[in-house]
Amino acid sequence: MTLLEFFGCSLISFSPALIMFIFTVANNPLKIIILTCSAFFWLLSLLLSSIVWFAVVPLRKQLVFSMVVSILFQEAIRIAFYFFINGGGGSSGGGGGAAAASSAGGSEPLTDADQVTLTAGTGRPVKILHLHSLSYVCGLGFGFMAGAFSMVNLLADISGPGSVGLGGEHEGFLLVSSVLALMFVFLNICWTVVTFVCIEDRRLYFLAYVWGSHLLCSLLTLLNSSASPLLSLVPIMVSLTCALIGLLLSLHLVEANLAGFFTSLVSPAWMLRVCRR
C-alpha cells in the first residue's frame, strides 16, 4: 500500500518531466549537461534564499517573507543563467556550450558548420543549440529541481510504513503536494522559455507575466493549510491556468504553429510524416 502510494505520487509529480527527458533530452549529451547545469543553478538560488531565511532570524517563522525572497532569487538566477549560457546575449555565444560540446561530444554528429567553427582555433564559439530548445531544457532542469526538492523527502517518508495523512494532516495531503509539484515543473518550463525568448528579443514586458504568475501561484499555496483539503484546489487550479497561459504564450513567442504543435503531441510519428507530404 505504501509502496503503491510512493510510486503513484512520484509518477504524478515526475512522469511528464521524465517522459520529456527521455524523448527530447536523453539522446543528446549536450542537453543533458545543460539540464544538470540549470538544475544546479536552481539549487544555487535556493541556497541563496535559505541563507537569507537563516540570516533574518526574527522572520524565520513568517515564511511569506522568505518565499518572496526566494521567488526573486529564482527569477534573478533564471536571467543570470540566460547570460551565462549565451555568453552575453545576442545570436552568437554559447561559450560554455561550445566547450562542453567539444569535450563531451559523444555520439551526436556535429554539423559541418559547427565542426568547422569549433576547430577553427579560438574565434567566436558558435551556438550549438537553438535558443528555443536551450530554454526548454533549462526550464526542465529548473522545474525538475524545484519539484524534487519539495517532493523527495515526502516520497521517502511515504515508502515507509503508514501514510495517508502523514503526521496529522488531511488525507489529501500527499495528492495535493504531488499535483502542485507537477504544476510547478510545467510552470518552470513555461517561465524559462518566456524569459529567455523575451530577453533575446528584447520584449521585456512579458517578463511581467513570468514574475506575476510566479508570485501568484507561489503565494496561493499559502492557502494549503492543514484544515481543509478543498481549499488547496485554488492554488492547483490557478497554477493549471497559469501553466496553460504560459504554454500558449511561449508557443506564441517561439512562433510555433499552434495547430501543428497540438497535433504532433497526440499523433504518432508515422502520421505526421504522412501529413507532411
Partner: protein, 323 residues
C-alpha cells in the same frame, strides 16, 4: 601505495601489476559482492540458500572478470566498473567514522592535485614515462565511454595494456580524454587515474582509434561496427575508477544522514564539478585531476545544505508552501 606502483611500472614489472589487478578484482567481485548480497537479503528479510547463492555469485563474478579484463559489451563493462566502485565506496562508508570520511575526502583531493600537477608529482611522472614508452592505456580500471573500440584495436600490445592498478585505499584519480588520432601525446588531454600507476595513455589509445579501420581489421574487433569506432574517435572521455569511488563515498555519506535534499544537492554539485573539470580538460589539454573541484563542491554543498537549506525546505514542505 602509489609510489610502489610507480616503481613497479618503471621497472617494467607488468606481470606483477597485472596479477595485483586480477587479485583485487577477484576479491571485490566475489567476496565483497557475496557480503553485499548477504546483507541485502537479510535487510529485505528474504530466505536464500547457499547453493543458489554460490551459483549466482560465481556467475556474476566470472562475467564481471571477463567484462572488465577482456572483451565484452561496453555497457556491461561500464556497469561492472560502476558496481565495483560503489562496493568499494560502501566499504569506506560502513567502516569509517563520519568525520574521518570528510577529512579523508579533502586530503585525497589535495593529494590528487599535488600528484598530478606538480612537476615531480608521482602520477605526472607516470604519465610521462608511459608516453615515452608509447604504451597504451588498458581498459580494466578506467571507465571509458569508448573503451571497447580502443582496447580491442590495440591488439599488438596485450601485455602493456594491463598496467593499471586497482585502488586499495588512497587513490588519486583523474580524467582522461582521448584526443584526436594524429596529435596523440601533444593534444590528448589526460587525466590520470589513481589507484596508482596509471599509464594514462589517452593519446595512444586515441591513436589507435584513428587507425580504427586498420587496426580493427588486423585486431580482433570483429564485433564492433567500424563506423562507430571511426565516429567516436575524438570524443571518448576516460575517468578513473578512483574518481567513482570517492564521488560515491561523498554521496553515500551524504545520504546516510537521512535527508534526501542533502543527497540531491551533493549529487548535482559533483556533477557540476565534473562538468567544470571536463571544460578545463577541453581548454587545458593535459592531465587533470578529477577529484579536487567535484569534492570541494560536494563537501561545501553538503554542509551548506544540511545546515541551512534543509531546515528551510522542511519548513516549507511541512506546510505545503511551494516556491
Amino acid at each position: 601505495m602509489t609510489i610502489v606502483l610507480i616503481v613497479l611500472y618503471k621497472l617494467r614489472c607488468y606481470k606483477v601489476i597485472q596479477g595485483w589487478l586480477y587479485v583485487t578484482s577477484v576479491l571485490i567481485l566475489f567476496f565483497f559482492s557475496l557480503i553485499f548480497f548477504g546483507v541485502l537479503l537479510s535487510t529485505l528479510n528474504l530466505a536464500f540458500d547457499y547453493i543458489t547463492m554460490a551459483v549466482c555469485v560465481w556467475n556474476f563474478g566470472l562475467v564481471g572478470q571477463v567484462a572488465i579484463h577482456w572483451k565484452g559489451p561496453l555497457l556491461l563493462q561500464q556497469m561492472y566498473l560502476i558496481f565495483i566502485s560503489a562496493l568499494m565506496a560502501l566499504v569506506f562508508i560502513k567502516f569509517l567514522p563520519e568525520w574521518t570520511t570528510w577529512v579523508l575526502l579533502v586530503l585525497i583531493s589535495i593529494w590528487d592535485l599535488v600528484a598530478v600537477l606538480c612537476p615531480k608529482g608521482p602520477l605526472r611522472m607516470l604519465v610521462e614515462t608511459a608516453q615515452e614508452r608509447n604504451e597504451s592505456l588498458f581498459p580494466s580500471l578506467i571507465y571509458s565511454t569508448t573503451a571497447a573500440y580502443m582496447s580491442v584495436g590495440t591488439a599488438e600490445q596485450p601485455q602493456q595494456q594491463q598496467q593499471q592498478q586497482q585502488q586499495d585505499g588512497n587513490v588519486s584519480s583523474d580524467l582522461d580524454e582521448s584526443g584526436s588520432h594524429q596529435q596523440q601525446h601533444q593534444a590528448a588531454a589526460q587525466v590520470l587515474n589513481g589507484g596508482g600507476g596509471d599509464g594514462g595513455e589517452a593519446g595512444v589509445s586515441g591513436g589507435h582509434d584513428g587507425d580504427g579501420p586498420d587496426a580493427a581489421g588486423a585486431g580482433s574487433n570483429g564485433l564492433r561496427v567500424r563506423n562507430k569506432a571511426f565516429h567516436d574517435e575524438s570524443h571518448g572521455v576516460k575517468l578513473g575508477l578512483g574518481d567513482f569511488v570517492f564521488y560515491s563515498i561523498l554521496v553515500g555519506r551524504a545520504s546516510s544522514a537521512g535527508d534526501w535534499n542533502t543527497t540531491l544537492s551533493c549529487y548535482f554539485a559533483i556533477l557540476i564539478g565534473l562538468s567544470l573539470t571536463l571544460l578545463l580538460l577541453a581548454i587545458g589539454r593535459r592531465a587533470l585531476p578529477a577529484l579536487p573541484i567535484s569534492i570541494t563542491f560536494g563537501v561545501i554543498f553538503y554542509f551548506l545544505t544540511s545546515l541551512i537549506v534543509s531546515p528551510f525546505v522542511d519548513a516549507l514542505t511541512a506546510q505545503q508552501f511551494f516556491i
